[in-house]
Amino acid sequence: MSASNARRPYKRPMGGWWRKNPYFVEYMVHEGTALFVAAYALLLLAGVFALGRGEAAWNSWLALLRSPPSLLLHGVLLLGFLYHTWTWFNIMPRTLPPILIGGERVKATTITRAGLAAALVASVLVFALAARLAS
């Protein structure tokens, strides 16, 4: 599909289509959590690089992490991640193949609740591990 295509086929304009329907606005917002996930991964990566450059570089990175803008940024990232968790497990019943237990299809709400419960348990375990490693 190059600009020199002589046919110039009609392309329906797509500007802002999703803003007209709350369902699609929500879709764009939950897809948008990917930006938060990417930003957090890049922050971790920057931290590992700082660590590799020695103690002085790490301490400057740590000072940055302790600054109010960084705390605010991580607060916003946390909201993004929580929304990602919520939507991920809400969508999961539709992305999984049907699961049968005792011949009955597992209900969508059961799958969502199990996922959210798993996230809670995993988060508590990870925090406990971090506390143990730090002590």
């Binding site: 930006l35 996930v37 990417a38 922050l43 990566l45 590992v48 946390l78 990870v126």
Partner: protein, 117 residues
């Protein structure tokens, strides 16, 4: 017939999405809020010695590698397909911007983690 590479990218998207849905939030709390402020975790959690010891260990390196790379592949795949929904269609530029960043970030994380010897 040429085999599609789509399942690989989808699997990385799914794995990263699941990992970030399970523990992404608590990781942000640990590394970005609790540890820097000393609220809920010891104040020296992110001291050079402690972070160095964690990152020098192979389990620590593996954990960081898995989180950084899977989060990036998850985000890349999702952003790539959302660009399509926004009218920016699957071209080489969109592909390079999304999967290229994830691939570069994965390589960079290997380099960075191995630098912490």
């Amino acid at each position: 017939m040429k085999r599609s590479n789509a399942p690989i990218f989808w699997a990385l998207f799914g794995a990263g999405g699941m990992l970030s849905a399970l523990i992404g939030g608590v990781l942000v709390i640990i590394t970005g809020l609790a540890a820097p402020t000393g609220m809920g975790l010891p104040g020296d959690t992110l001291s050079y010695a402690k972070v160095l010891a964690f990152t020098q260990s192979w389990p620590g390196k593996l954990a960081l590698f898995v989180v950084i790379s899977l989060f990036l592949w998850h985000a890349a795949h999702r952003i790539f397909h959302t660009l399509h929904d926004l009218g920016i269609h699957a071209g080489l530029v969109a592909r390079l911007l999304c999967y290229g960043v994830a691939a570069a970030g994965t390589l960079a994380s290997i380099v960075a983690l191995l630098q912490v010897a």
